[in-house]
């Protein structure tokens, strides 16, 4: 055919651009809006919110929640989910607290053991999911019994002591307004950015976005999945250590609530639960929003018996809001990993 073939008109460029903008910006905007609302409300209701003390105590509770949310995000991005993450937090924290035994000299050993425990739990989950190919929800549900049981073996009742150096250091304030937990949170985020800049970070998104396509593109899918669970487990162990530093002692029952919170935080932060889109930055923001809301309900003078309901309702509305805005863009933050 020699006649000049006019190509079919592609959709107007402006629409393409606006669509791309919608897809990248909306969820981040939604999360940011929620954050602004939560911070403003907190500042209004908590008189000491912007004092060193207020910031420290807020960030002290935020850090563990945010860290677990980041751990869950790493798993979810690659297309998995870890329902055992709360028990991994628990198990690694009780292992660490038992080894510390209140002795500052044993802290390095205890921290290393705690991290190794988290990594080992994650590795087990990863192998079960990637090699035995079990459905992640049920597999990690089953392993949560194992980890929870082990935690009870290690520390049957709440107890153990964390050296004062750690609990004290955790609540330090650097340079007037910068609490240590906030600095740690920043370090966590920087570590995430580093991972994101690495091949394996990109592969998390690829595998979660389309495992079949990734496999055909020579991405080592099974290894990426194992990595995501192992990395998630390791970060969860960090959260366990943060919890220890915050509370000063170990608790073998602390985990279960945390799993649910981690999932809520990452969804509020714009990560797609089916994988391939989102990021740890969003999860951190989501965790901040979630924690502030809980504090707000407390400070707003809601009657004790109504507190749980109000809390739950607000979280659902926040998730629905984030979900609604995410769904409109087709994806959330997407493969760009902007957060």
């Amino acid at each position: 055919m020699s006649a000049p073939a006019p190509t079919a008109a592609p959709p107007p460029a402006t629409r393409r651009v606006s669509r791309a903008l919608l897809a990248t910006r909306m969820p981040s905007a939604a999360t940011a809006a929620l954050l602004v609302v939560a911070v403003t409300a907190s500042a209004l209701m908590q008189h000491n919110f912007f004092t060193p003390y207020g910031l420290t105590s807020n960030f002290a509770t935020i850090l563990p929640v945010a860290t677990i949310a980041v751990a869950q995000t790493i798993v979810v991005l690659a297309g998995g989910i870890d329902l055992s993450i709360g028990t991994i937090v628990t198990l690694s924290s009780v292992v660490a607290v038992q080894l510390m035994d209140g002795d500052p000299g044993r802290v390095p050993l205890a921290l290393a053991a705690g991290l190794a425990t988290g990594a080992a739990c994650g590795l087990l989950n990863g192998l079960v999911v990637a090699v035995l190919r079990l459905q992640p929800i049920v597999a990690t549900f089953a392993s949560s019994y194992v980890f929870g049981g082990l935690a009870l073996l290690v520390l049957p009742t709440p107890g153990g002591t964390v050296p004062a150096e750690i609990t004290g250091g955790y609540r330090q304030v650097i340079a007037l307004l910068l609490p240590v937990p906030a600095v740690l949170l920043l370090v966590l985020w920087l570590a995430w950015r580093l991972l994101r800049a690495h091949r394996i970070g990109q592969y998390l998104y690829a595998v979660g976005g389309n495992a079949g396509a990734s496999y055909a593109s020579a991405v080592p899918v099974a290894r990426v999945r194992v990595f995501s669970y192992t990395a998630g487990g390791t970060v969860a162990a960090l959260a366990g250590i943060a919890l220890l530093a915050n509370s000063g002692s170990g608790d073998p029952f602390i985990g279960n609530e945390l799993t649910l919170g981690s999932i809520a935080a990452l969804v509020i932060g714009g990560t797609r639960l089916s994988g391939g889109a989102g990021g740890a930055g969003g999860a951190i923001l989501g965790a901040i929003v979630l924690t502030l809301i809980q504090n707000l309900v407390f400070f707003a003078g809601v009657p004790t018996n109504a507190r749980e309901l109000v809390n739950g309702a607000i979280i659902i509305v926040a998730i629905a809001l984030a979900g609604l805005l995410t769904a409109r863009g087709g994806t959330s933050d997407g493969g760009r990993g902007r957060s």
Binding site: A8, G209, N210, A213, S214, A216
Partner: protein, 504 residues
């Protein structure tokens, strides 16, 4: 005889009870474009997937340049210099085009991804294909926003970025527009010059004749013969592919006087003010360049896409379906353009797929089903379509592509539709299945049904339809019928060249 560049011997593969490859042999030389032809289910895709390492063969050997190749996965074939463009796309939708192009082969610097280098690798290919993207270079656009043809081009670029010695194009042209195919063929020529072996699967004869040097014909999981394309008349090529001649062939029109479907000024997301009539017993085609709103027109009529304005009458009564459910009630039936994602619940049994649109008709009080009655209904529909199946309880995924499509069509018989809308029903099915399918469409029309069928293949439209509506940018721009109904007029009308300018 010297060892061929690529040699595959005795390759076998079974999926459960289905033999996909029964000891196929294959050989090809570097610097050639080699077509692999055959009906659906002949094993050609599986053979090439064995080569690319996606499918693990039960037996057989692959040698590249005389050295045995035993890929344990796509990583190994990548290292061996084999890249593939698959039928089902292997792109990550959320990624940008550049990120997709370098996926799995990301350049690194200091252990981290080197984005600048990635662009340097990817851009030359995207620029080479700029014409196929309507003149732009969509490096930073996400695949999500690209249309199917553009995605396919990205897929092709992705294979090329890997700098292959063997390039596999598996139905890579199926969703491409004419211009895109032209660019691709230019590149294929260049690759041949550079000594690359290009393996090409297609159902389009014209393309085989345009670029292929050699062709291997496969049937029933083995290779039948290998021929030099230029030495063989087209007719013989078709016969080799099908085993016997099974062209659709023209047939007398069964159109009656009564207007069954009348559309006035219909507008939808990608349809603008379409007006036309289809009479009872008439088969009307919807043609034009790809992506001019043909699929949208059918989906809008069926209530699957939102109608902005316009009137639709079936047998003189206005219908205004806001969902397919209402459309079915008004006597419409719809065969969607993609059988895997739209037409079938692949994991469910044939029986349930067949029964789905007409469940309420047979159910007691609209609820209770009798297995006997369901089986009878499904069997009769399958029989009318000459569907080949093992058991009605087998998942529909176990059928070959052609037979799957027969289920997609057959499931509508029991709803006794008055208007049947078909969106490119013969896409990706082999010549014989196509002939059977259109035979049934004719029978439907003969029974008084109005059929509206879109197709990406002009020859198909000419052979099957009484009239063809040509669409351009969402509008019906021509109504080709009678003496004018030839491939040449359709092509000319599609590109908005007046009929007199194209002589034939």
């Amino acid at each position: 005889m010297p060892t061929p560049y690529l040699q595959m011997t005795g390759v076998r593969k079974r999926y459960g009870g289905v033999t996909a490859l029964a000891g196929a042999d294959f050989a090809a030389e570097a610097g050639t474009v080699h077509a692999v032809l055959g009906p659906n289910g002949s094993g050609k895709s599986t053979l090439l997937k064995v080569l690319t390492g996606v499918v693990e063969p039960d037996a057989g050997e692959v040698r590249l340049e005389g050295r045995p190749l035993r890929p344990r996965g796509p990583r190994d074939t990548l290292e061996a210099g084999i890249s593939a463009v698959y039928q089902e796309l292997s792109l990550v939708e959320d990624f940008t085009v550049v990120d997709n192009l370098v996926l799995g082969v990301e350049p690194r610097r200091w252990g981290l991804r080197d984005r600048a280098q990635a662009r340097r690798i990817a851009l030359p290919w995207l620029e080479r294909f700029a014409d196929a993207f309507g003149g732009r270079v969509p490096a930073d656009e996400r695949v999500l926003g690209l249309d199917p043809g553009e995605r396919q081009v990205v897929e092709i670029c992705k294979a090329l970025v890997r700098d292959p010695r063997v390039l596999v194009l598996d139905e890579a042209t199926a969703s491409l527009r004419r211009r895109q195919v032209e660019v691709l063929f230019d590149v294929v020529e260049e690759l041949r010059e550079a000594g690359v072996l290009v393996l090409f699967i297609t159902h389009r004869l014209a393309e085989i004749r345009a670029v292929c040097d050699r062709a291997t014909i496969m049937r029933g999981g083995t290779d039948v013969t290998t021929v030099t394309v230029g030495e063989l008349p087209e007719q013989e090529l078709v016969e080799l592919m099908v085993g016997e001649m099974a062209a659709v062939g023209a047939a007398p029109s069964t159109a009656r006087e009564q207007v069954r479907l009348e559309v006035r000024d219909l507008s939808g997301p990608r349809v603008r003010e379409a007006s036309f009539q289809v009479r009872a017993g008439e088969i009307v085609g919807v043609g034009g360049l790809q992506g001019q709103g043909q699929g949208s027109l059918l989906a809008t009529l069926f209530g699957a896409e939102r109608r902005h304005s316009g009137t639709v009458l079936v047998d003189g009564r206005e219908v205004r379906p806001r969902s397919p459910k209402q459309a079915v009630r008004s006597g419409l039936a719809y065969v969607p353009g993609n059988r895997g994602t739209q037409g079938l619940a692949l994991g469910r049994p044939i029986l349930e797929n067949m029964a789905l649109p007409s469940l309420a008709r047979r159910a007691l009080l609209g609820v209770g089903l009798s297995r006997r009655r369901e089986v009878e209904a499904a069997r009769s529909a399958a029989g009318r379509m000459a569907t080949k199946y093992g058991s009605l309880d087998d998942p529909v995924a176990t059928l070959s592509g052609g037979n799957q499509q027969k289920v997609v069509v057959g499931k509508w018989f029991a709803t006794e539709p008055r208007v049947v809308l078909m969106d490119d029903p013969a896409k990706g099915i082999d010549v014989r299945a196509k002939a059977e399918l259109f035979g049934v469409v004719r029978d439907l029309a003969a029974s008084g049904v109005a059929v509206l069928v879109s197709s990406s293949d002009d020859r198909e439209l000419v052979e099957v339809c009484d009239r063809v509506l040509v669409m351009f940018e969402g509008r019906v721009v021509d109504d080709v019928h009678g003496e004018r109904l030839t491939e040449e007029t359709l092509v000319a009308a599609a590109m908005r060249v007046t009929g007199t300018e194209v002589g034939s």
